[in-house]
């Protein structure tokens, strides 16, 4: 069995047998890895609390036939404050759920790894209302996997915007000529909110968006959910548990 070393973030885990767990990780070099942590549920386990969800860990693993086996785990960032707060834990669960859905086993995706790490760091440093980080994370994940919510130009004819029609199906804003009848028309403030949420790298400005433009953020949030669920073809189970407002 080949031994390898990887950095990873724990997405979720399931019980296996009496004392083991199957852990889903997003690793930096191998994409999603599903691995067995033997004896992790025993009180005296050598893994202790290192393999709890949202932990950023340095791992040593054995390659297995179906599942790899975790040999050692060292904590790089526990993100314990995220786990210990209900709202932040729920927000991190949405992040984990969507990454677990889009990450592929054996396919390195450094952008996705860095985004998840940044998202969890932002939550760890965030004030009480973390919902806006979830919205930003979802649009940024969608963008990484090829579904960017385009609000700068018409998503169909590429005519420079801003355009006031916003379509989930078309993937962004539409000009009056391309918008089919019944397309939702929104304020430019909402387009600006969607642009801010989807802009790569910016986390610090997000709490201000939620605080100063709550209506625009609420509309952008509902658009975000519909956009991500439509394009990733998946219902987000943890989304409704995140407290808002």
């Amino acid at each position: 069995m080949a031994l390898y070393r990887e950095q990873g973030i724990v997405l979720r885990s399931y019980k296996l047998g009496e004392t083991d767990r199957i852990v889903h990780l997003l690793t930096q070099g191998r994409g999603k890895v599903r691995a067995v942590a033997k004896g992790v549920r025993r009180p005296g386990s050598r893994f202790g609390g290192r393999l709890e969800a949202f932990s950023h860990v340095d791992l040593q693993l054995y390659e297995g036939r179906n599942l790899d086996v975790i040999a050692q785990a060292e904590l790089l960032a526990p993100h314990a404050v995220v786990r210990e707060d209900y709202a932040r834990s729920a927000a991190a669960s949405v992040m984990s759920e969507v990454v677990d859905a889009v990450a592929q086993e054996g396919e390195r995706d450094n952008a996705l790894f860095l985004l998840l790490r940044a998202g969890l760091q932002a939550l760890a440093a965030a004030p009480a209302d973390p919902a806006v980080f979830v919205d930003a994370f979802l649009l940024r994940v969608a963008s990484i996997v090829g579904f960017h919510a385009d609000t700068d130009a018409c998503a169909v004819c590429r005519r420079a915007g801003p355009h006031g029609f916003l379509s989930v199906k078309a993937g962004g804003s539409l000009c009056p000529g391309c918008a089919p009848p019944g397309t939702r028309m929104v304020d430019l403030e909402v387009l600006e909110a969607v642009r801010t949420l989807a802009a790569a790298g910016e986390w610090a400005v997000l709490p201000r968006l939620a605080r100063e433009r709550p209506l625009a953020h609420a509309t952008a949030a509902s658009y975000t959910r519909a956009f991500v669920e439509h394009h990733l073809d998946r219902r987000l189970r943890s989304y409704d548990v995140v407290p808002r407002g």
């Binding site: 609390g49 290192r50 786990r83 210990e84 729920a90 949405v94 984990s96 943890s238 548990v241």
Partner: protein, 206 residues
């Protein structure tokens, strides 16, 4: 494939958690070779548990009457209420013989990733109990994992503003464990929850 009754038994056993097709076949053949008395006793135990066991109307623990054994016991302390995830946690705490208060079983823990929110648990019933009963302390004894921590955090918010003391079970080093194997989270919690040796179990050091 086996004939009728044997295959039916294998199929039913195969639906149990942790029992695969091979295990189901092995158990079925064990039962086939067992005495009729033994097999009948097993069948009766399964039937009886389904017919008589229900959830306690007060605390949602497993009960064979309207209320469970703990809720019926007049010697228990009504002022302390221990909130646990599952009925089996009640058994684990009872084994310690340290706790003499009442229980409230939530029926699980908040797990957003599995779509389990606060509405799926017996949290509203807990709040109603606090309105009716003379509870002075609520001990949150959910598991120290991500779901248990989220549940504890949510309950703590819900109980904010009520005239009850809200405490959480301590977490830290396991008895018999080695300090150098402890992870940073566990060890830091052990430090936060350290106790004064002279007043062990009664005073926290700040």
């Amino acid at each position: 494939m086996y004939e009728g009754a044997v295959q039916d038994l294998i199929d039913e056993l195969g639906r149990l958690p942790g029992v695969g097709p091979k295990s189901a076949q092995r158990i079925a053949f064990f039962l086939l070779q067992a005495d009729l008395v033994d097999a009948t006793r097993l069948a009766e135990a399964i039937t009886r548990v389904k017919q008589t066991v229900r959830f306690c109307s007060r605390c949602f623990n497993i009960a064979e009457a309207e209320q469970c054994r703990v809720c019926r016991d007049p010697r228990r302390d009504d002022t302390v209420l221990c909130v646990v995830e599952e009925a089996r946690d009640v058994v684990a705490i009872e084994r310690t013989r340290e706790y003499r208060g009442r229980y409230h079983v939530l029926g699980g823990a908040i797990s957003p990733i599995d779509g389990i929110g606060p509405d799926e648990l017996h949290i509203t019933e807990l709040l109603h109990r606090l309105d009716r009963e003379p509870v002075e302390e609520v001990i949150i004894a959910t598991n120290p994992n991500v779901e248990g921590e989220a549940t504890a955090s949510f309950l703590s918010r819900q109980l904010d503003g009520r005239a009850v003391r809200v405490t959480r079970l301590a977490s830290g080093l396991p008895v018999g464990g080695d300090l150098d194997y402890a992870d940073e989270v566990t060890l830091s919690r052990a430090f936060v929850g350290r106790q004064d040796l002279r007043g062990r179990g009664t005073r926290e050091v700040r």
